[in-house]
C-alpha cells in the first residue's frame, strides 16, 4: 500500500477537503448543543445508554445495579486463589499503612502518611508492575485548579457537578475544588514545572465542559511531570515499595474489618501475607476491560482489581453504570489505535471535521456528548473516513492550531502528540489526525467520603478506583486533581487510623469464602476469575497450543 506522509491516497483526497475549507473555518464557531439535544445524542449513541452493553449485578452490596457487561463479569468472577491454600499464620510484612497501587493517588497517600508522622518503616507501597506504570504518567492535557482572580472555586464546583450530570457527591466536589489551589502550590514547592508565560503567570487552557480557563499544564506531559516528581520525592523520603507484586485479595478479621492483603509476585509466582492497621486502595481504573469492545487509552494493568477486591470484602460501589469514552482516540495508524489524542488539541483550537472537511460539532462539549456526536457521524452517515483496516474515524484539524496560535505551537505544547504520530511518518503540524472515541476512564467505583473512608472499616479509597467525585462523567483535568486531593486526604486519614489502631488484628479470608458461596448459588457459566491482573493479548495461534506442565515442588 502506498503511503504519502503516512496516509493512503484515499485518505489524502479527504485531507484535500480539510485543507480547502480551513481558511473559511478559521473563525467559525459552531453552536454547542442545548441540554435537550445533548440528551438526544447521548440516548441514541453513547454506549452507556445502550442496554445491549449492560446488565444488572447479580450479587453483593450493589446487587441490581445496571453496569457494563465487562464490569459485571469481573464482579461475578471467582477468586484466582483457593483461600484454603493460603497460610495466614506466616506474616511476611507487618506494617501500619498498606497502600495498594503506586499511581498518582497511591504515591500521594504514601507521602502524606509520611508527612503526617507515620514512620517510613511502617508504610508499605505495593504495585502491580513498575513504580510508575500507571494511568497517571499518561495524562497529557492538564490539571484543573481555580486560582486566577477571574475564576473561583464555586465556578469550578458548578462545572464539575454539571459535567457529572448533577450526580456527584457534593462533599467530594467541594473537597476536590477547594483543595485544588493548595495542590498546585504544593507541586510548585516540590519543583513541578508547570507551563508559565513571560509574566510568570500559569498557562491555563480550557477543557471540555469548563467555563473558565483553568487547566494547568506541563506541555502535553502533565501527568508524567507531576508523577515523576512525586515518585522522586517518595524515594527521597525512603518509603519502602514492592514492584511486580499486585494485591490479589484483601484480608479481613472476624468483624469484617480490612486487616491486610495477599500479594502475588508475578515473576516468581509466590504469595506474601501483609498485615496492616489500615489499607488504602489506589489501584486506578478499568480501561483494559475493553468495555463495549472499545480500544483503550489506559495502561496495561488497568483491570479494575481494586474494585472487585473491595466488593468481595463488602464495600459499596457507585456510579459504575457510566463509563467515559474519550472522544478522540487515535483511529489511525493501526499500531496506535485507541491511544489518546489529548483534549488539549481541541483546547488549542483544533476542530472536528467530517470527510467533507466541514465541522460536525462544537469541539469542546462535555466528553460524553462529544464522543456520542462522533459515534453518530461514523455510524449513521457517510461523512466518516475509513482506514485500510476498516476502522472509521473523524478528522481532528491540528494544522489549524498553527494558524491560530502561530507556527511552532504544536511542537512546543503538544510534543508528545507530535512525536507519537511522527514515529509513523505523520506530521500533525501539516496534516489532520484521524480520531474515534476510545475507552478512557472509570467514572464510578468504590464509594468514599471526603476523608476517603469506604463503607467498610479499615479500607480507605483514593483515585480512579473510587466513585462519587465525578458523578456520571468526569471533566478533563479533574482526575489528575482528584488523585492529588484524595491521595493526600487518604494519607492523612491513614495516619489517624494508624495511631488509633495499634492492637494487631486477626487475618482471615472469610469474605472470600463468602463470595464463593454467593457465586455458587448463582451457578454462573462459564466461570470467570478475577482480579485479572493483566489482560490477555497473546494470539489465538499460540493460545491454541499452550500447555501447562506439572511442576514438582519438592
Amino acid at each position: 500500500m502506498k503511503l504519502i506522509g503516512g496516509y493512503t491516497e484515499e485518505m489524502r483526497r479527504s485531507i484535500d477537503n480539510v485543507n480547502k475549507t480551513r481558511n473559511k473555518r478559521r473563525d467559525q464557531i459552531i453552536a454547542d448543543l442545548t441540554m435537550e439535544d445533548r440528551k438526544i445524542v447521548l440516548d441514541q449513541f453513547h454506549p452507556d445508554y445502550n442496554p445491549k452493553y449492560k446488565r444488572n449485578i447479580s450479587w453483593g452490596p450493589n446487587k441490581g445495579d445496571n453496569v457494563p457487561n465487562e464490569v459485571a463479569d469481573v464482579l461475578e468472577s471467582y477468586p484466582i486463589i483457593n483461600p484454603n491454600d493460603i497460610d495466614l499464620n506466616q506474616i511476611d510484612y507487618d506494617v501500619g499503612v498498606l497502600i495498594i497501587g503506586a499511581g498518582g493517588a497511591g504515591t500521594n497517600a504514601v507521602l502524606w502518611a509520611k508527612y503526617s508522622d507515620v514512620p517510613k518503616k511502617d508504610i508499605l507501597l505495593v504495585t502491580k508492575l513498575r513504580f510508575g506504570d500507571c494511568n497517571s504518567v499518561m495524562a497529557q492535557g492538564g490539571i484543573q485548579a481555580a486560582d486566577r482572580l477571574e475564576d473561583n472555586p464555586y465556578i469550578h464546583y458548578l462545572d464539575a457537578i454539571g459535567g457529572g450530570h448533577f450526580e456527584n457527591k457534593p462533599e467530594l466536589v467541594k473537597a476536590l475544588v477547594g483543595d485544588a489551589p493548595k495542590v498546585i502550590k504544593w507541586h510548585k514547592e516540590l519543583g513541578v514545572n508547570y507551563d508559565c508565560d513571560d509574566d510568570g503567570n500559569f498557562v491555563e487552557v480550557p477543557g471540555g465542559g469548563t467555563s473558565r480557563n483553568r487547566m494547568h499544564c506541563a506541555k502535553d506531559y502533565t501527568g508524567m511531570e507531576i508523577f515523576r516528581t512525586l515518585k522522586d520525592e517518595a524515594i527521597n523520603q525512603g518509603i519502602p515499595y514492592l514492584e511486580f507484586s499486585p494485591a490479589i485479595e484483601l484480608l479481613t478479621d472476624d468483624s469484617g474489618r480490612v486487616t491486610g492483603a495477599i500479594l502475588y509476585n508475578i515473576e516468581t509466582k509466590r504469595y506474601f501475607v501483609v498485615r496492616a492497621r489500615v489499607v488504602v486502595m489506589a489501584t486506578g481504573g478499568f480501561g483494559r476491560l475493553h468495555v463495549g469492545g472499545f480500544a483503550t487509552t489506559n495502561h496495561y494493568g488497568a483491570t479494575m482489581d481494586g474494585v472487585v477486591m473491595a466488593y468481595r470484602a463488602g464495600a459499596k460501589l457507585r456510579d459504575l453504570d457510566s463509563t467515559q469514552f474519550h472522544p478522540t482516540g487515535a483511529a489511525y495508524p493501526e499500531q496506535i489505535v485507541g491511544l489518546l489524542v489529548t483534549e488539549k488539541v481541541r483546547s488549542l483550537g483544533g476542530q472536528v471535521l467530517g470527510k467533507d472537511g466541514i465541522q460536525i460539532c462544537y469541539p469542546l462539549e462535555p466528553r460524553d456528548v462529544e464522543a456520542a456526536s462522533l459515534i453518530k457521524i461514523c455510524t449513521t452517515t457517510h461523512n466518516y473516513i475509513e482506514t485500510p483496516t476498516g476502522m472509521r474515524g473523524i478528522w481532528l484539524d491540528s494544522p489549524l492550531i498553527e494558524e491560530l496560535k502561530g507556527k511552532g505551537t504544536i511542537q512546543q505544547n503538544l510534543s508528545a502528540m507530535y512525536r507519537m504520530f511522527k514515529r509513523f511518518d505523520i506530521d500533525i503540524t501539516m496534516d489532520p489526525i484521524l480520531v474515534y472515541p476510545t475507552l478512557h476512564y472509570q467514572n464510578g467505583g468504590v464509594d468514599l467520603d471526603s476523608n476517603c473512608y469506604s463503607s467498610i472499616k479499615g479500607l480507605l479509597i483514593a483515585g480512579e478506583v473510587s466513585g462519587g467525585v465525578h458523578g456520571k462523567n468526569r471533566l478533563m483535568g479533574n482526575s489528575l486533581l482528584e488523585i492529588n486531593v484524595f491521595g493526600r486526604r487518604a494519607g492523612i486519614t491513614a495516619a489517624k487510623e494508624y495511631r488509633k489502631n495499634s492492637i494487631p488484628r486477626k487475618l482471615t479470608l472469610n469474605h472470600v469464602h463468602n463470595t464463593m458461596k454467593a457465586l455458587d448459588a448463582l451457578n454462573l457459566k462459564p466461570k470467570k476469575y478475577a482480579p485479572i491482573i493483566l489482560p490477555e493479548y497473546r494470539s489465538e495461534v499460540v493460545k491454541d497450543r499452550l500447555i501447562q506442565l506439572y511442576e514438582q515442588l519438592s
Binding site: 454547542d32 499518561m138 486560582d147 462545572d159 477547594g178 514545572n193 510568570g200 485507541g338 494470539s539
Partner: protein, 244 residues
Amino acid sequence: MSKTKSETKQSAEPEKVRIYIMGSRYDVPTGLTIMKAMEYAGFKITRGAGCRAGFCGACSTVYRKAGDFRIYAALACQTPVEDGMVLTQLPFVPAPKPKYKIDDLRPSANSILRYYPEVARCLSCNACTRVCPQEINVMNYIQDCLHGKLAKAAEESFDCVQCGLCTIRCPAEIPQYHVAMLARRLHGKYNIPTPKYLEIRVKELEDGKYEEGFQELMTIDKKKLKERYTTRDFMDQKKGGGDE
C-alpha cells in the same frame, strides 16, 4: 463498534515478517509494534510493558537489523517491526538514585555535582543522545547541568520517559535520567516563579472565605443548581449558542 477486542487484529492472510526475539525466530504480521509482535508470538509480557503508549519507559528494546552493524534502541510499544529484526527488551536499568532534600538545595551546578559528581566525567561522546528513543539531546542537557544552566537542561530533558537507555550506554556511567530529574525539580522550584494569585487563593481558602458559599451550593435543590449551571457565564472562551 468498529474496533475488535483483540489488540493484535488479524485479517485472513496477513503478510508476515520474520523477526528474532532473543535469538528465536518468529513470523509475525507486518505492521505490528514490537510489543504486539511479541504478544502475537506468544509472550505474555510481565516486564517490559507499562503504559503501552510511549509515556512510561518500561519497554526499552535494543535491536539489530539484517545486514547492518549498528545497534538500535526503541520503545517497543511505539516501534513497528521490520523484517530481519533481532531484538531483546531491557526493561530495567539498575541505577542508584541518591536521596536529597529539595528544600535544602540551591539551583546551581554545585547541587547537581554534589549528588552526581560523575556528571563532570562526561566524555562528550554523544552515545546517550544517539540511543535516546525520545530523540532528546541528552549530552547537551548533561553539559548544561555541568554549567549550571538549569533552565536549558529542564527544557531539553523535559520529554524524558526515564527508560534508562542513556545510562546503559554511557561510558562515564552517568545516570542521565536521574540527573535530569534533579535539574527539573531545582528549576521548577527555584526558577519558575509562583504567580501571586495562587498564593492569594490558597490564603482565601485557608481563611474559610468560601465555606458559606459552598454550604449553599451543596444544599440547594437540584433544579436551582441546574439553573446556575446552565446560566453560568463563559469568560475566556468563545462559545456558540447552546445553553449560553
